[in-house]
Symmetry: C2
Subunit: 367 residues, 2 copies
């Protein structure tokens, strides 16, 4: 299991690690652990009786004052226990916890999932959200690899009606994109076939970003169809270039937060797939990582923590899996689940792609 990025960074911005002596760290750990479990402010006597803390409650109290002064803890009000701040959670995640390992039951669930899933990538990614939700009880997001490096394997123009056809494009990563084409006049199958042949001839083997370049065939009718197909081709761009986002377990959000307003705003964010992708890509950067509270800059998610793990295919971070929970989330568990699932997804995608990206196949995908 990879360690969390930047453990005890040498250039810690505010001297975070220096701020806390071991005792303070263990007290902070106890507070965070307890609060994650109970969601109640944690008092000094609870902390004093926690394993790993060997001092009296009075000492704990004075240390807590220091922790509060430095912004790791807050009191909801005088004479209440302390709860961790985002900074407190951050310290906990960065210094006090190993990513954790899945329990045997969870491990079995993961294995069962990957044994059983032998289907298309989209389906696999979609179901992976369900797996993550099941493992952690948090809402899950999976972002699939984009298609922009894939090459075109085949183009086909299939007639659906006298004046309607379907342009079907198959990419080397197994993605299939389609778009209807409408004509002004009837178009015969033979013209469609010739058009298809022409497209294959000039576009197969190209990457998507290469764009549309099909020379005139010399036949007016075919050229008209090709032009129409070109328009359809351009329209595909948006769906090809946009990432594939899958969201799972939104109902878990309603378990994570008690304020219905929070649930609403988080759900709203999840509905905006672009935001979700941006967020995950932002957070990703440095491998397995966590964004707590407002660190990511999205106001409505201020009471959320996001755990993100990369999905690496052939060493490249092509996708991501994310877990969305309250800031008082079970970080070790969530990190472990995201890490394992992301890794296994990557392996799976890798093996599926190994043959596909090879140069072994010629470009004449038509038949």
């Amino acid at each position: 299991m990879t360690p969390i990025a930047d453990h005890v960074a040498p250039d810690a911005p505010e001297g975070d690690a220096r701020d806390l002596n071991p005792r303070q760290a263990s007290i902070l750990e106890a507070v965070v652990t307890e609060y994650i479990g109970t969601a109640e402010p944690v008092g000094s006597s609870h902390v004093a009786s926690a394993p790993g803390v060997e001092v009296s409650s009075a000492t704990v109290r004075s240390e807590m004052v220091a922790l509060e002064r430095n912004g790791y803890l807050v009191q909801p009000h005088t004479s209440a226990g302390r709860i961790p701040t985002d900074k407190g959670y951050r310290f906990f995640v960065d210094h006090l916890t190993e990513p954790g390992v899945l329990g045997p039951i969870q491990h079995r669930a993961v294995s069962a999932f990957f044994d059983q899933v032998h289907v298309e990538m989209e389906t696999m990614l979609e179901r992976a959200t369900g797996l993550l939700t099941e493992l952690t009880s948090y809402a899950a997001v999976v972002v699939g690899p984009s298609h922009d490096t894939a090459t075109i394997r085949s183009l086909q123009v299939v007639g659906l009606g006298p004046m309607v056809a379907l342009l079907v494009v198959v990419l080397s990563d197994g993605a299939v994109e389609k778009r209807t084409i409408e004509f002004e006049t009837e178009v015969s199958d033979s013209v469609l076939a010739r058009c298809g042949a022409l497209l294959n001839e000039h576009l197969v083997g190209r990457t998507w970003t290469f764009g549309w370049s099909v020379p005139s065939s010399g036949d007016d009718e075919v050229d008209r169809v090709v032009a129409a197909a070109g328009t359809a081709f351009d329209l595909m761009e948006r769906s090809i270039e946009s990432d594939q986002v899958f969201v799972g377990g939104p109902s878990r959000l309603a378990e994570s937060f008690e304020a219905v307003e929070t649930v609403r705003s988080v759900l709203e964010i999840l509905e905006q797939q672009l935001v979700v992708v941006t967020l995950l890509r932002d957070v990703l950067g440095r491998g397995l990582s966590v964004s707590i509270g407002t660190e990511h800059g999205y106001e409505p998610l201020a009471s959320c923590a996001v755990v993100v793990a990369p999905v690496c295919v052939a060493g490249q971070e092509l996708g991501a899996v994310g877990l969305l929970g309250p800031t008082r989330m079970n970080y070790p568990g969530a990190l472990a689940a995201a890490h394992v699932v992301g890794e296994r997804l990557g392996e799976r995608l890798d093996s599926g792609r190994a043959g596909a990206s090879g140069e072994g196949r010629g470009d004449d995908g038509r038949h």
Copy 2:
């Protein structure tokens, strides 16, 4: 606009319509209208001052007692106003409200939507949930037509790698289904092409339900590929036969209900697409209709009302649009929105299908 089904049914089960004289009906209407607006129990004096009620509050009170005896209203507690029961809403919907019409702004939104959407059916249905949510502020569900009557237009086996290929099936309704095929040994493009030709020859023009029937080609290698494609073909069955379900605006649920637990359980239902489809199909039956509270039999949705409108293509109810809100939902508005959107979707699908289902095209979709 079609009237709601079974107005004043002659064989009303408990003599519902007979139970209520016009005055009681207008009082019930006032209570429901007021309660939908305020979510507060409605007192007799409010009702007395409502338009359409020309009697004093004392008379209203005595009528309310009768309405409560007959199960149309309940009091949360003595000395509180009344709120409608599910039966009260049912009477309101069946007898007291016309489906309503969209406001000019909403009408423009619908027109704008259908002017602008010129894309694939899936995309259109998906976006239609957004439209419905925007029109009504309720969560929306759209169920697309299933593919079981569509015929196969084209089959293609595209090589992705030396030992991996993709079976791509195009249906007459414009749906494209795909599945990867893995081989034990390397398979050349020419074999794939011959396999594709064979599949086209024997399966194009068939409906999906007809199943797989491809005779031996005489070539062992081709036959092996065909067999593998057959397996893939069978695996597609599930995704082809299952309905297409699109859910929109789940965050609106968090606006509709204040109890986070209710939000959770309703979200959970929405995650189970099969349940949603079953529910909508059940409710559908008699055209534009409403299911209130427990009428549909799903416990977790007891505090919900579901408005369902059919999406008719060529006179057949092939799909449905649904709106999910609290029982105190704006029925006229929701009915109007569902009706209009369902109707326009049907028209759009119809026009797209008109050419597609025709016999004008031969079966040799290959080229």
